[in-house]
Amino acid sequence: MSKTFTLLLGTSPYSYENTLTTVKIAESALSKGHTVNVIASGDGVYCFLKGQKAKGITNAEEKFTELIEKGLRVYL
């Protein structure tokens, strides 16, 4: 049965592992046909800035852009 996952992301993209955890859970839930919302709160909004150049760690802009194309809904 399809469910709705709503993930609250409240930390900046590169200071914590939360970006990776959120991306991986969202990716898996979308692939199983669930609805996935990410609500960015506080410093979490920085995950959605354009022009990020991060390497050696999950690039938030790149990964979230891919997931939005797969149906992720993001609310800032």
Binding site: Y14, E17, L20, G56, I57
Partner: protein, 117 residues
Amino acid sequence: MKDIAIILRRSPYGDINAAEAVRHAMGGVADELGVDLILIDAGVLLAKQGQDDTDTGFTNLGEALTDCMEMGVDVYADKHSIREQDMDTADIPEGIKVITGAEIAELVKNAKTTLIY
């Protein structure tokens, strides 16, 4: 006397502190500064062997620590913290010196600058 003593108190990956400590240690030696990297509290977990970054997108910080040593950073691990983290001194890779709190105090006292992560 060393130019910088970098103290790492946090375990790797959960937050950016371990990666930053390693990055700045490398930056220091690349600029020909003398650098001590001191692992205490959960920071000793950075020395754990067998870290596997496959499919995570992370830089392997265990390997980065080895690179640091090869570049000339002196790496130390606190004996008490190793015990507290249920590790054994035998788990600590070759090249990392296991030292006491008193010895750490000496390193900090003798460094020109201290960075704490």
